[in-house]
């Protein structure tokens, strides 16, 4: 395992990677702890991974080995119910770029910030010709209430049982304790062009995806 270790000069090390950017323009082998593919911070130690990982979690390890959706691949299709109870299939968005963001749960601070950030930048996404779709394990009634409360103009899909999350290989965080927060940008051909993972800086998902969309 290609791992390098450097100790930053700090009194109290950082636990989570709050400041390091985690843009992944290449295939992501996301870490459950630090949500970063090629570089991560844990307790102030920088880890650079080339392929395998040292964090002991068999389910995570399987996810990293068989990251099911990678950059350049076409993700498996799905059909999930939206906040109005209507079936929505991924194929519905073919012909235009789609931002598919997986988030832990409705009405949690990070997810609310992320949803509101997508909402506030929605015009920019529309201008880029892209659709935004949020997916979590909450049911349709939760999505309906969440979308109504925060006036979300985009689709929220109910992935009950987290089936699609597992199919796409969205990694968990904190040794599997938290559903991961990962965003995919699909181009108009349905091919993944960006995978971005950041659990605790949800607004950055919007910046990174817009940056990519503007270059498509």
């Amino acid at each position: 395992m290609a791992t390098s270790l450097t100790l930053p000069n700090r009194t109290l090390p950082s636990l989570f990677p709050c400041h390091t950017p985690k843009t992944q323009s290449s295939v992501s082998q996301c870490l459950p702890l630090v949500s970063k593919s090629s570089e991560s911070q844990f307790y102030g130690l920088k880890f650079s991974y080339s392929s395998s990982l040292s964090i002991p979690s068999s389910s995570y390890f399987k996810t990293s080995i068989s990251a099911k959706v990678n950059k350049g691949s076409v993700p498996p299709s799905f059909a999930l119910k939206d906040q109005d109870g209507k079936n929505v299939s991924l194929s519905k968005f073919k012909g235009k770029p789609v931002v598919v963001y997986f988030y832990p749960a409705d009405e949690t601070p990070g997810c609310t910030k992320q949803a509101c950030a997508f909402r506030d930048s929605y015009e920019k996404f529309k201008k880029a010709g892209a659709e935004v779709v949020g997916i979590s394990g909450d049911d349709t009634s939760s999505h309906k209430a969440f979308a109504k409360k925060y006036r979300l103009p985009f689709t929220l899909l109910s992935d009950e049982g987290n089936k699609v999350r597992k199919e796409w290989g969205v990694p968990s965080d904190l040794f599997g304790a938290l559903p991961g927060r990962q965003t995919y940008v699909l181009d108009k051909n349905g091919v993944v062009q960006l995978i971005y993972n950041n659990q605790f800086q949800p607004e950055k998902h919007i910046d990174e995806t817009l940056k990519l969309l503007q270059s498509l």
């Binding site: 109290l12 090390p13 950082s14 636990l15 989570f16 709050c18 832990p104 749960a105 409705d106 009405e107 949690t108 601070p109 990070g110 909450d138 049911d139 009634s141 939760s142 209430a145 904190l174 304790a177 938290l178 559903p179 659990q199 605790f200």
Partner: protein, 308 residues
Amino acid sequence: MSILPQHKYPLRPLTYAPTCPRLCCIARVTCSATTTKPRSSQNPLVIEPRLVTTPDLVTTIPSTGPPLPNDPSLQSTWSHRGWVASGCTTLVISLAKAMMGAADSHVWLEPMLAGYVGYIVADLLSAVYHWGIDNYGDASTPVFGSQIEGFQGHHKWPWIITRRQFANNLYALARNVTITVLPIDILCNDPVVQGFVSICAGCIMFSQQFHAWSHGTKSKLPPLVVALQDAGVLVSRLQHSAHHKPPYNSNYCIVSGVCNEFLDKNKVFEALEMVIFFKLGVRPRSWSEPGAEWTEETDETHPQVTVH
């Protein structure tokens, strides 16, 4: 709603004294639907599951206002003073053992380092305890109920802590320090251990005083206290005032505040809250709009304290 009396404290170094008198005749209003799957806590002593996910949680509305300045509940009793004296005695013994051990072995660095570590750990522990009490449980929670209620009252009337007499403010922590440190005093002669224990337990015991000072006005505080606050040795008025702003989810430390930046920047408590939510289905209070019982009231008898 019942308020459980404090029959005994568990053997641990951390307990925060209620900073407000117990409220009587309290009405509770519970409303709103849940979209989570609440599970009962596996440790009933620590967390009582909350069953709601939307605002307007369990709301306890006190029917009494803040205690008046001469309220007996703010005065020290001889029992309070006794506990503070016993707590201080155990700390002095611990410190003396550390110093004597260091002098005997001519090794001072390790006990001093251990003391410094104790100072940092005390700050961290104060944050963890404060976070737990502020976010989970309520007045009916076993063991912690009265403290949760006390912290709730403190958020509502934060200035009251500055009117509480010294021993009244510290006695509960002093009692726990006595119970915890006395056996260590008797059984342990290691100067490093005693160095850690004396400083850690000492900071914890006096944390309520540091907390009270952080609610004080600069002009009314002793110059030495102001200097220590400004130097970051004690939790500053500015740092702690940030905790008293909605959504009350940061700056939980009340010893020195040295851990606040690390904890807040790294979203440690947010991560813990998410884990608890996903594993136990319990939402912390800070995720919802504060109810009436947590929202700060202005002190009509004194001008609003401006932090400077």
